[in-house]
């Protein structure tokens, strides 16, 4: 099959907005789902969280970070190019109901993927408090979109160039000052951020849902590479998740498993990228 790229642009350094024409996916996608893409005929299958969609136009949007060989290939695509595989929506959707007050924390590509979650929660009648975290102001995006679907938007940057200076450890204090106690916390972001936030909310007793991002191949409950330990039980992120209770996850094991192909992910960058630019 061939799926047309509608847009692929770097929206902040190293993060790309990626819009693909895939009507069947656009029709049934829900917040919290992911898709699997293959950049070319020799490409590997990689999962991307879904960040938005347009059911009428039949398009689906993701935000991805360029890290290894496969995402470098995606980052070289231009509007009008096609990719051979774009399949989804995969995984269980994020549970949306009226919880009361919900804290939505997004970082990195997760600012993108938590956006439709915040929007759906708002539509379901929740008070939505969005927190966007980045190292510096130039790494933030979609702030305006969040203002439209949130009761309040908090910004945290490590260097203080925008919003509060600091890190996610200050969220409980920030919310306390604003008089907010969330009934549910949802985190979409890098593994480290999701782990840290789970550690922060555990002693506070704030129920925390994280959107896990393991290595995957088929993404349909066949290969078993995405397994993780949740509450001491083996779970498979592609069909049991990707949302899990952050307090139940064996984070140390998860971090180790995610790194298992690091050398191979980075290796292609060393000897192929120059040639493929020409």
């Amino acid at each position: 099959m061939a799926y047309k790229i509608i847009e692929r642009r770097m929206i902040v350094p190293n993060l790309h907005e990626f819009i693909v024409e895939a009507p069947a996916v656009a029709e049934s996608v829900k917040p919290g789902n992911f898709v699997i893409v293959r950049p070319d005929e020799h490409g590997e299958r990689i999962p991307l969280s879904v960040a938005d969609w347009d059911r009428t136009a039949g398009t689906v949007t993701s935000i991805f970070m360029q890290v290894g060989g496969s995402t470098a290939k995606l980052a070289r695509l231009k509007p009008g190019n096609t990719i051979p595989t774009y399949v989804g929506p995969l995984g269980k959707e994020t549970v949306i109901q009226n919880f009361g007050a919900v804290l939505c924390l997004g970082g990195c590509y997760g600012i993108g993927s938590i956006y439709p979650i915040a929007r759906a929660l708002k539509e379901a009648g929740n008070k939505v408090y969005s927190v966007l975290e980045a190292r510096s102001s130039f790494l933030l995006y979609w702030e305006d979109k969040f203002h439209k679907v949130s009761d309040k938007v908090f910004i945290i940057t490590r260097d203080g160039t925008r919003g509060k200076k600091g890190h996610i450890g200050q969220i409980p204090e920030m919310l306390q000052q604003a008089g907010i106690v969330p009934n549910l916390t949802i985190v979409n972001g890098c593994t480290f951020q999701m782990m840290r936030m789970s550690q922060i909310t555990k002693p506070l007793g704030w129920k925390t849902i994280v959107n896990m991002n393991p290595i995957m191949i088929d993404g349909t409950g066949m290969c078993g590479v995405c397994r993780l330990s949740v509450g001491g039980k083996m779970k498979f992120a592609c069909v049991d998740g990707p949302d899990f209770d952050g307090h139940e996850i064996d984070w140390e094991e998860f971090l180790a498993r995610r790194k298992s192909y690091n050398p191979e992910e980075v290796d292609p960058l060393r000897h192929s990228s120059c040639r493929s630019h020409f």
Binding site: G88, C223, Y261
Partner: protein
């Protein structure tokens, strides 16, 4: 049958068995007694007219032999390679009562390969169009068989495949050296040439549900295949370097990881590999590890050689290629290093007791026999459950305790009207030919149902 020598083949992924030259095929076919009441047919899950196609070979009319097989089997090049004939047709062969039975599987393969070598594939007689629409979930052996049978009967057939390539387990599971992928592609293209529409990258249950499809189609066949791999539930199975056989084989076969970095999907090339299990998938994994350059590959199995569920031919191939069989051995713990990678496996010695419910002698651990072996990878090949996606997303479908879709053995019909199922989604991990047998039964039942509906 001529084979690549072990010292050649462990360095490549090319097919091991080279196939009969025509003279050998005719000579072998002449051994057939042409029984008036043949037993071999009864051993075939799809009921091929075996003496019929063998007679064509003896007469040198290979083209008619092809036609004869294709009356009941759309995938002869595949079945000729991967069917356990020694348990089926060849087991029933009368010639086999004294000496070796006729090599029916090899002759089937010969006929199919002969046709492919001619370059033109004959299309069977097609019934007039009925206007009935059938959706098939999964382009594996079960789904392709149903598609073949129903398109010939005049129905409009559409296959929805979740992966980017067709073939199911034939593509992601069975290695190139046992079943070259060009052969799978060839057989799928044949079914497509009959008019079957195929959509890849389409996950029924997610992209659209079965109920959504039922609004458009008169009948649905679910052949969604294998699901999540089983693990032993011992400590250390989530360590890095521990793979399910599904993952390991998918990386190598479907994603062509053995050609990394030409293909992007990486596969580890460890030096000491333990493969746990004793079936065909375990043999495939062990022989793959050998080809990826491992110094030592151990096949760890808790019973003895007699009880190995794999085909004897595959066991012998693995032995010839240098796989070390650690029989009567049970892993009890995988031990990791400080970075979370497997470094050792703790095992127990076993002995065989009385036969259990499966009729095989039950393995009993020898108390205090624990020992530790160094490994830098382990592949767990002890089976898998049926794929969970359709059971999870199709309300009202009766599901067995093991997670499979419940069907009637005579018709393949599920608990819901207009939905049929077959293959691994019903049986768990079984064989290619049993999936095709299920497909044949379901196709007949679907046809009957659609034609009676008027």
């Amino acid at each position: 049958m001529p084979k690549q020598t072990p010292w050649e083949r462990i360095k490549n992924f090319e097919e091991v068995a080279l196939g009969y030259p025509i003279e050998t095929a005719v000579e072998e076919a002449s051994r057939c007694l042409q029984c008036k009441k043949p037993f071999c047919n009864q051993g075939c899950p799809v009921g091929i007219d075996i003496p019929g196609f063998i007679k064509c070979i003896v007469e040198g009319d290979i083209a008619s032999g092809v036609k004869k097989i294709k009356e009941t089997n759309a995938l002869p090049a595949i079945c000729g390679r991967v069917c356990p004939q020694e348990e089926q047709c060849e087991k029933m062969c009368v010639v086999g009562k004294k000496g070796d039975p006729l090599s029916i599987g090899r002759l089937e393969r010969f006929v199919a390969d002969w046709e492919a070598a001619q370059g033109k594939i004959e299309v069977p007689d097609m019934a007039p169009k009925t206007g009935k629409k059938v959706a098939i979930v999964g382009a594996g052996p079960a789904g392709v068989t149903v598609a073949n049978d129903l398109i010939i009967l005049g129905h409009d057939v559409t296959i929805f495949e979740a992966l980017h390539e067709c073939g199911g387990v034939l593509m992601y599971g069975i290695p190139e050296f046992r079943l070259p992928k060009r052969i799978v592609n060839r057989e799928v293209e044949y079914v497509r040439s009959l008019g079957v529409k195929i959509y890849t990258d389409f996950v029924v249950g997610k992209t659209r549900t079965v109920d959504q499809l039922l609004k458009e189609f008169d009948a649905i066949f679910v052949g969604s295949g294998a699901g999540l791999p089983w693990f032993m539930e011992i400590p250390g199975e989530n360590l890095n370097g521990v793979f399910s056989a599904n993952e390991y084989l998918t990386r190598v076969n479907l994603m062509k990881g053995f050609r990394f970095p030409e293909y992007d999907t990486p596969v580890k090339r460890p030096s000491r590999v333990a493969v746990v299990g004793g079936g065909n998938v375990a043999m495939d994994s062990a022989r793959t590890a050998i080809r990826l350059g491992a110094d030592e590959v151990h096949l760890v199995y808790r019973r003895s050689r007699t009880e190995l569920p794999a085909r004897i031919e595959e066991v012998e191939n693995a032995e010839e290629e240098g796989v070390i069989f650690d029989l009567l051995t049970l892993p009890v713990r995988l031990i990791g290093d400080e970075r979370g990678w497997i470094k050792e496996m703790e095992c127990l010695r076993m002995e065989l007791g009385e036969p259990d419910s499966s009729g095989r002698r039950k393995p009993i651990p020898v108390e205090g026999s624990n020992f530790i072996v160094p490994f830098d990878a382990a592949v767990i090949a002890i089976g898998n459950s049926p794929n969970p996606l359709i059971p999870m997303t199709t309300p009202g479908l009766e599901i067995s305790k093991k997670g499979g879709i419940v069907t009637s053995a005579e018709t393949g019909q599920t608990s819901r009207p207009n939905i049929w199922a077959g293959g691994d989604i019903v049986r768990g991990a079984a064989t290619v030919i049993s999936a095709m047998g299920d497909g044949r039964i379901a196709a007949a039942s679907i046809h009957k149902h659609l034609m009676n509906k008027e």
